[in-house]
C-alpha cells in the first residue's frame, strides 16, 4: 500500500517534473515559434554567406581580333587588422616594398579602426577588413604569402599555444587577397581617344565594398553596359573555418561575362596614321593634328587619331588637350567644303564641268565685302575652280546654285547633324538655316566660311563622293562577341542617303583628280602608283568671332585609287608652323599614310604599273627550273 508520505512525495515529484517539462516546453515554443524569425536570422548570419561573383569585363578588339583593351585578373590585397596584434610595424616593413606603398601609410592602415556610419553610429567594420592595394599581380601576391610565412614576428624559442595560434592567424589570415581585374591597353596610346579609358568604382553591398571597372570615355563609356556583363552570386553555408559547405549551397548564379567589342579599327592602319601624324607634329609643330581613314563603300572607320594623345593605362596623362578632336571640335572647313557647292551645282545641272567663271583676278566685291583668292585667277572652268581652289569661283557657283539648294546639299552631306558614330561627345557642328543667313553667306559658305563642321563630318562627305554619291553612316563597331568568340550581334554598314547622282559623282572625281597634279593645290599628295582624288583646305581660325591673322586650320582629304576608291583619308592640322596651306603641310602626310595603307592593304595600283613579266615567259621559266634533266 502506498502511504500518504509516499503519495505526497510522488505528487511533489510529479509537480516538479511537470513544471520542468512545462518550462522546457515554454522554452521550446519560445525558441522555435516566438523567436523563430530572430533566431533564424542569427543562425543564418553565423553560417550563411553571400559571395558576389564579379563578371569579367569584355575586351575591345580591332577588326582582325587584335587586343586594344583587355581585362587582366589581378588581386586586391586586404588585411584583417584584428589579427595583426601589435605587429603592424613588422608587417608594414615587410609588405610596403612589395605593394609599392609608403611604409608609414601601410602602418596606419593596419590598426583596427572604429568609424561612424551614415546614421552617425560608431561601427567597427574596419576591424576585420581594410584594403591595402589594388591591381596586385599573382606573382606579387605569391611573394607576399611567402614573406608572411617566413616572418617570425620576434617570437623566439618555443611559442606557447596562444602564441602559436596568433602566429597561425597572422600568417594565414591577417593578409588576404580578393580576386579583381585590371584594365590593360596593350598598345599604350594607340587609338586612345577611340577606346577611351576606364576606372574602378566601388559598389557597396551588405557592408562590403566591391570594385568594378566602369568606362569613362570613348568606346569604354559608350558600350559600358555591353562590356560590363552581369554579376553572379552564391548563397551558401560555411563551417567554423569559413570553408564553404557545398551540400548546403542555396543559390548559385554564375556571372555573365561582358561581351567583347570588335571595332572596325585596324590596329596596323591606326599605327600607320599615328606614326605619320607624330612625324608631321614634329615637323610642323601644330597645336593638334588629326587623321581619319575611312573605307568609303561601308563607312568603316579604319583609323581615327588625334595628337596630342594619352596613354589610357595612365589616366593621369589625360588633359583637355588630348580630347578626341575628330568629333568634339568644330572648325570652318575652308576649301574642302567646295566639294559641297560644286557637286550640288553639277547635280542640279546649274553648271557643267567645263563651264567658265571669271575669277576677277583675286578680288570680287559682293554684298559690300571683297572676297579674295589666295592667288589671282582669271577665267577658270568649274574643274579649274576645284583644281586651283578659287574662292571667287566657288562663290559664283554658290550664287548660281542658290541659298536653298546650297543649304539642302550641305544638310544632305550630313553637316549640321551628328554622324551617329557610337562615341560620346560628338557635336553636330553649325549649319544655320537659310533664314539666318546674311547677304554674304551665299558667297562665303561655298568657300567653307560661315559653317562649322567636325573633321569626321568632312571626311564622311568626301567618302560619299568616293562611294557613288552615297553618304554612309560612320561604322566603328563591327560586332559583339562572347568570351568564346561567337558572334552575338553583327552590325552592317548603313547608307544614309544618296546625295548626288553617280554621273555627278564621276564628274566630281575627275575634278578632284586634278588637285594633286602639278597645276593643283596639292601636288605633294600625289602617289606614285595610284591616282588620287582629293581637296585641300586652308581656313583662317576664328577667335572671339574675329578671323585671326596667321592662325590657320590646314587640311587635305582625299581617296584612292580614284576610280575604285578603297580608302578615304583626312589629315587636319590646327595652327601648323613651317607653312600653313593644306596642300603643302597635309598633302605629304596624306601621301605617306596612303602609300603605307596601300602597301598593307595590298591595293592594286592603277597607274605607273611596273613592267609586268609575260605570263608565258614565266611559265616557261618555271618549267625550265622544274626540269630535273636540266643542269
Amino acid at each position: 500500500m502506498i502511504n500518504r508520505l509516499q503519495l505526497k512525495r510522488a505528487l511533489l515529484l510529479l509537480i516538479f517534473l511537470s513544471a520542468a517539462f512545462a518550462g522546457l516546453g515554454y522554452r521550446l515554443v519560445d525558441l522555435q515559434v516566438l523567436r523563430h524569425d530572430e533566431l533564424s536570422r542569427l543562425e543564418q548570419d553565423n553560417t550563411q554567406r553571400e559571395f558576389w561573383q564579379a563578371p569579367r569585363r569584355g575586351n575591345i578588339l580591332d577588326t582582325h581580333g587584335n587586343f586594344l583593351a583587355m581585362s587582366v585578373p589581378v588581386k586586391t590585397v586586404c588585411a584583417d587588422p584584428s589579427l595583426i596584434g601589435n605587429q603592424q610595424a613588422a608587417v608594414a616593413r615587410a609588405l610596403a616594398p612589395l605593394l609599392g606603398v609608403p611604409e608609414a601609410d601601410l602602418y596606419q592602415k593596419l590598426f583596427p579602426r572604429v568609424s561612424r556610419n551614415d546614421k552617425g553610429e560608431l561601427v567597427t567594420n574596419n576591424l576585420h577588413y581594410v584594403r591595402l592595394q589594388r591591381d596586385v599581380s599573382d606573382d606579387t601576391w605569391q611573394k607576399i604569402r611567402d614573406t608572411m610565412n617566413r616572418m617570425d614576428f620576434g617570437i623566439d624559442g618555443t611559442p606557447s599555444r596562444a602564441e602559436r595560434q596568433f602566429l597561425h592567424n597572422l600568417r594565414a589570415d591577417a593578409i588576404f587577397a580578393e580576386p579583381d581585374e585590371m584594365r590593360v591597353y596593350p598598345n599604350g596610346s594607340l587609338a586612345a581617344q577611340v577606346l577611351g579609358f576606364s576606372s574602378e568604382q566601388d559598389i557597396k553591398m551588405d557592408d562590403h565594398v566591391f570594385s568594378q571597372i566602369v568606362g569613362r570615355d570613348g568606346i569604354e563609356l559608350a558600350l559600358n553596359s555591353k562590356l560590363s556583363g552581369v554579376a553572379g552570386w552564391r548563397v551558401t553555408d560555411t563551417d567554423r573555418a569559413q570553408q564553404e559547405l557545398v551540400a548546403l549551397r542555396d543559390e548559385n548564379v554564375e556571372p555573365r561575362d561582358g561581351l567583347n567589342v570588335v571595332l572596325t579599327i585596324d590596329s596596323v592602319i591606326q599605327d600607320i596614321v599615328e606614326t605619320s601624324l607624330a612625324k608631321a607634329m614634329k615637323e610642323h609643330t601644330p597645336h593638334s593634328i588629326t587623321g581619319i581613314v575611312i573605307r568609303p563603300s561601308t563607312g568603316e572607320v579604319l583609323a581615327m587619331a588625334t595628337l596630342p594623345s594619352y596613354d589610357p593605362n595612365h589616366p593621369d596623362t589625360i588633359t583637355p588637350e588630348t580630347r578626341d578632336r575628330c568629333i568634339t571640335d568644330v572648325m570652318e572647313p575652308g576649301s574642302t567644303f567646295k566639294i559641297v557647292v560644286v557637286s550640288g551645282a553639277l547635280n542640279e545641272g546649274v553648271v557643267r564641268l567645263n563651264d567658265t567663271f571669271d575669277c576677277e583676278h583675286g578680288h570680287f566685291a559682293y554684298a559690300g565685302r571683297i572676297l579674295h583668292d589666295a592667288e589671282p585667277h582669271g577665267i577658270l572652268t568649274t574643274e579649274g575652280v576645284i583644281t586651283e581652289s578659287s574662292n571667287i569661283g566657288a562663290a559664283k557657283i554658290g550664287i548660281k546654285l542658290g541659298e536653298d539648294l546650297l543649304y539642302d546639299y550641305a544638310a544632305d552631306y550630313g553637316f549640321g547633324e551628328r554622324t551617329g558614330i557610337p562615341l560620346p561627345g560628338e557635336v553636330s557642328g553649325i549649319l544655320h538655316p537659310v533664314k539666318d543667313w546674311s547677304k554674304i553667306s551665299i558667297a562665303q559658305i561655298p568657300m567653307g566660311h560661315g559653317v562649322a563642321v567636325t573633321r569626321l563630318q568632312m571626311v564622311m562627305a568626301m567618302a560619299a563622293l568616293a562611294n557613288h554619291g552615297w553618304l554612309m553612316r560612320p561604322m566603328l563597331v563591327k560586332s559583339l562577341t562572347d568570351r568564346d568568340g561567337n558572334v552575338v550581334e553583327q552590325y552592317a554598314p548603313q547608307q544614309v542617303r544618296q546625295v548626288v547622282s553617280e554621273a555627278t559623282d564621276k564628274e566630281m572625281i575627275e575634278a578632284l583628280k586634278t588637285v594633286v597634279t602639278p597645276e593643283g593645290t596639292a601636288p605633294g599628295a600625289a602617289m606614285k602608283d595610284y591616282v588620287v582624288a582629293g581637296k585641300t583646305g586652308t581656313a583662317q581660325k576664328v577667335e572671339n568671332g574675329v578671323y585671326v591673322t596667321g592662325k590657320y586650320e590646314a587640311s587635305f582629304i582625299g581617296f584612292f585609287p580614284a576610280d575604285n576608291p578603297q580608302v578615304c583619308i583626312s589629315i587636319v592640322m590646327d595652327e601648323p608652323r613651317e607653312g600653313y596651306y593644306g596642300g603643302l603641310v597635309c598633302g605629304p602626310v596624306f601621301k605617306e599614310v596612303a602609300e603605307r595603307c596601300a602597301s598593307y592593304l595590298n591595293i592594286p595600283p592603277d597607274q605607273h604599273l611596273p613592267p609586268q613579266p609575260n605570263p608565258l615567259q614565266l611559265v616557261q621559266a618555271t618549267r625550265v627550273h622544274n626540269n630535273p634533266n636540266m643542269p
Binding site: 587584335n66 596593350p186 599605327d271 606614285k528 602608283d529 602609300e595 604599273l609 611596273p610 613579266p613
Partner: protein, 124 residues
C-alpha cells in the same frame, strides 16, 4: 515437455531482434556515412571548382598572352629589336600576274565546247 520447451533458446525471435538491431544500427551508420560522404564530396567539388577556376584563369591568361605576342604591333617591335630588316612590300615591288585572257567562245573547237557544257561559265 512444456517446461523443457520453454527453457530452450528460441533462435527465431533472437534472429529477428538481431536483424532489427542490425537494420537500425546499419541505417544509422549508413546515414552518418552518407552525410560524411556528402560533405567529403562537397569539399572535393569545391576544390575542383577552385582548380577549374584557376585553370580557366591560367588558360585565359595564356590565350591573352599569345594574342598579344601575335599582334602586329608586338611583332613589329620585335622585328625592330632584332633588326631583321623586314618591311612590308611597296606597291611597286609587287608583281601582279594578269588574269589569263579567255579565248572567244567561237574559237573553241566544238568537241571541247561539248565537254565544257556542264561547267560553270567563266566570267571576267
Amino acid at each position: 515437455m512444456k517446461k523443457s520447451q520453454s527453457s530452450a533458446i528460441r533462435f527465431g525471435p533472437v534472429l529477428k531482434v538481431f536483424f532489427l538491431c542490425f537494420l537500425i544500427a546499419g541505417s544509422a551508420v549508413g546515414y552518418v556515412w552518407q552525410k560524411s560522404q556528402i560533405f567529403q564530396l562537397g569539399r572535393e567539388i569545391r576544390q575542383r571548382e577552385i582548380q577549374l577556376s584557376q585553370l580557366a584563369s591560367e588558360n585565359q591568361k595564356l590565350t591573352d598572352q599569345l594574342a598579344i605576342l601575335r599582334s602586329p604591333m608586338v611583332l613589329d617591335q620585335r622585328e625592330r629589336q632584332l633588326n631583321l630588316g623586314l618591311a612590308p612590300a611597296q606597291p611597286g615591288q609587287v608583281f601582279r600576274l594578269p588574269e589569263p585572257v579567255l579565248a572567244p567562245p567561237n574559237a573553241v573547237p566544238a568537241r571541247q565546247l561539248a565537254q565544257r557544257q556542264e561547267a560553270v561559265p567563266l566570267t571576267q
